[in-house]
């Protein structure tokens, strides 16, 4: 397993795109949170700013993890590029010719999904500690509410493995990125809105591959807002976790079947 991962590392360490995208992701995430704390980025008028939430421990985790979950599209696109590069350069074939089993190729990419998820969670953790400390003045209570980091981790695996599956099915980088963004930003958003406000049934979100993870990390004011507009009771977190895991397993199975059965 470590040998698979070390070979994946060899593939990406000198790939500039890797570092540009990861840098942008970490930089923008820091900037976004910094801007919100200091009021450069605001939403609302007349001295009302709904973004102005507490960044003290333990609330900081709600904020950081929510904003990170909005920016995971960057690493997800990186995952797509890593995978479709192999098809473009036909190095997927070469890896097999040189002696990998097809499943080893697939599992190496899954290890990349896990690694990127861990990295994303670590970035969120560091930012949370830094902003929380700046706000609270101490680390008291810093470890409360860190379950949100676990939610974030699951969400990352869901997004990145979804990106991996799409890459394996579509193979072409531009088309894959286009379809991925179209699905994330538009199709699922429309369905989500329809389920919540058209059908008034939040439970249906469990059946949306990415939204079921998004619901683990709602906008910090969302709970209050949904109570105000009188939405139906939301399913408990463990159901979203279960649904996310089911989707991740489904991606794995579809990708595995596809790679084992098709010509490369």
């Amino acid at each position: 397993m470590t040998s698979l991962l070390s070979i994946e590392w060899l593939k990406i360490r000198k790939y500039r795109t890797t570092w540009v995208i990861l840098g942008l992701f970490a930089g923008l995430l820091t900037l976004l949170n910094y801007g919100i704390i200091h009021g450069f980025i605001r939403a609302g008028g007349n001295n009302i700013n709904i973004l102005s939430q507490s960044y003290a421990f333990p609330h900081v985790w709600d904020n950081i993890c929510y904003y990170t979950s909005n920016l995971v599209l960057f690493p997800a696109i990186l995952m797509i590029i890593f995978t479709t590069n192999e098809y473009q350069y036909r190095t997927n074939r070469q890896n097999i010719i040189d002696g990998w089993k097809r499943l080893q190729f697939f599992h190496a990419k899954w290890l990349m999904v896990l690694s990127l998820s861990i990295l994303t969670t670590i970035i969120a953790f560091i930012l949370g500690l830094a902003f929380g400390y700046a706000e609270s003045g101490s680390f008291t209570g810093a470890m409360n509410n860190t379950v949100k980091l676990a939610y974030l981790f699951i969400l990352c695996i869901n997004y990145y493995s979804f990106a991996l599956l799409l890459s394996v099915l579509v193979k072409r980088s531009g088309l894959t990125i286009g379809l991925f963004l179209l699905y994330c930003l538009l199709i699922e958003f429309i369905l989500h809105m329809y389920f919540n406000y058209g059908l008034h049934n939040e439970t249906l979100n469990l059946f949306l591959p990415l939204q079921c993870s998004d619901n683990l990390l709602p906008f910090p004011l969302a709970k209050m807002a949904s109570q105000l507009v009188g939405l139906s009771a939301e399913p408990p977190a463990y159901q979203y976790i279960l649904a996310s895991c089911c989707w991740i397993i489904i991606y794995y199975i579809i990708g595995r079947i596809r790679l084992l059965k098709s010509d490369w």
Binding site: Y89, R93, Q94, R102, D263
Partner: protein
Amino acid sequence: MQNILTIQNISKSYGPVQALKNVSFEVPEGSVFGILGPNGSGKTTMLGIILDVLIANGGSYQWFGGIDPALARRQIGALLETPNFYHYMSAMDNLEIAAAVKQHGQNDRLRVLEKVNLIERKDSKFSTYSLGMKQRLAIAAALLGSPKVLVFDEPTNGLDPAGIAEISDLIRQLNKEGHTIIMASHLLDEVEKVCTHVAILKKGDLLLSGNVNEVLYSDDIIEVKALDNNILQQTLNSMPGIKNIRPDNNILQLMCEQSISPQNVNEYCISKGIVLSHLVLKKKSLETKFMELTNK
């Protein structure tokens, strides 16, 4: 001699197109095995299947008597269709990945780059290479760790005449060192010079396979001419070892047994008092044979 590779009844279709039809053959250890055929005859498909890049619709293959195919592939150096490398990395870095997957050959990188004359460009990015250099790097990658078996798909693709000669020499040299080489090609000249065994494919059918001298053996022809061809023909009719005489314009074509050389014919004619004005040994080229076979 043990077989390096055994192929049994392999079939493969792409939709309605049948690329391979029940192809079976064996590759003996120590041979230079040429897979020949016109464009689109299924050569690359065959190699793709035995390297697990393509999946056959039927049939089976065994490397080294049936060991795990992935394990077998690590002992095989292969170049399939195009050179496949990460464009943003140097030759050395690309070979590092290949060696890591093969689990051997990490210290062999400079040697193989030297062998294909790429040592000066070892740190240049793959994307800056010319077509011929990319092909050389692919051959270098195949040579990593001196594998027992080498599989080359059109190895001289994109090379200049000097490069083609170098690769032909390299293949012969590798074979002499004991490597078995499986090579697909439509360049008959290339094959004629280096192959010990061949399999000929046409539109997915295996026409024949085996030792070059057996399957592609053809009689040599001796052409003769004298002042009076009629007397010459009568005289030669009684010469032992001549199987058939065919007049062609004002020349006689003699189909002889292998033991008969032009010198024998000349001596025989002189002893019968006939002076030859034309005496030529004509070898049937692989190309003629190949055209005969594939145009049937």
